[in-house]
Amino acid sequence: MKLIHGDGRDWSDDEVQEALRAHYAPPGGDSYWASLERRILTRVRAEAAREWWTYFPGWVRYGVAAAAVAALVVGIATWQTSIAQERIAYDEILGPGSEVPILTESVTDRSRSQREQTLRYLLSH
């Protein structure tokens, strides 16, 4: 491997450099730079005014909108399902005759057992 020290210049490189500078000389007039600045800023201002969804290409935009609608529908369906499941769970705990107060039933049971006890007493005597 050849090692290169310094910048490797020799006397003839001055003319190469001069020729390159002439060849690559930038446009000179102020009007040119003012015009380039205007073109750059037109693009930058357009970029600044862009809405976020415009960053997606057309078909992606429709896809995102469809996905948003689908997510909304799924959300509503899930919410309704959870309400229905809650109702069913309550029904399972309380039973179908839950309109009748539990205390009343126990009172009925108690009075029935008292009646049975009375009958059993009468029959045994």
Binding site: I4, D7, G8, R9, D10, S12, D13, E15, V16, Q17, E18, A19, L20, R21, A22, H23, Y24, A25, P26, P27, G28, W33, L36, E37, R39, I40, L41, R43, V44, R45, E47, A48
Partner: protein, 183 residues
């Protein structure tokens, strides 16, 4: 170490631009567009492509502005972005039209006022350089960048930039071979 008034002014512009002040960004464009053009021109083959690269570069910089830390050098950051935009254009062009090299090299933006023979030989010599070698010699000899800066800008090691410069010089030296003295 205190910073130069220009640097402080530039930092102020960057911070204002980051807050959405497009006039501050316009001032940054005015400050840096000539240098940005020079960087782009060293990489692409035509003036038109250099203009495109500069516009793309500033646009990318505007989009990425909130990620830039204002205590860093805005120019160096911007020039890397412009260099990347120019390299992208070069890659796209290469894919699109592999034969355009000699034609585009032969149509510089401005007549440098040199003799036809010198210009013809320089243009011909430039076509024989690799894309990276051409960029390195222009960035170094025309724009005055250091090897390390060129390396960072083009994404190559400093040693590679040094080596590319050496080979590009040798090629151009040979091609132009004392033509000045004859003219």
């Amino acid at each position: 170490m205190s910073e130069s008034p220009e640097r402080v002014h530039e930092q102020g512009l960057v911070i204002a631009a980051q807050k959405g002040d497009t006039e501050a960004f316009a001032a940054l464009v005015r400050l840096h567009q000539r240098r940005a053009y020079a960087v782009a021109r060293s990489i692409v083959l035509t003036h038109e492509d250099a203009e495109d690269a500069v516009q793309e570069g500033f646009l990318h910089a505007f989009r990425a502005l909130d990620r830039f830390l204002p205590d860093q050098a805005f120019g160096a950051w911007l020039h890397r972005i412009v260099a990347n935009a120019a390299l992208d254009i070069t890659r796209r062009k290469k894919v699109r039209d592999a034969d355009a090299l000699s034609d585009t090299i032969a149509s510089p933006f401005r007549d440098p006022g040199e003799s036809d023979e010198l210009r013809r030989r320089l243009e011909s010599a430039l076509t024989t350089l690799g894309e990276r070698q051409r960029s390195v010699i222009v960035l170094h000899d025309v724009e005055g960048y250091k090897h390390s800066e060129i390396g960072r800008m083009l994404g190559i090691p400093e040693g590679t930039a040094r080596s590319d410069l050496h080979h590009a010089r040798a090629r151009l030296r040979e091609a132009l071979g004392g033509i000045r003295s004859k003219l």
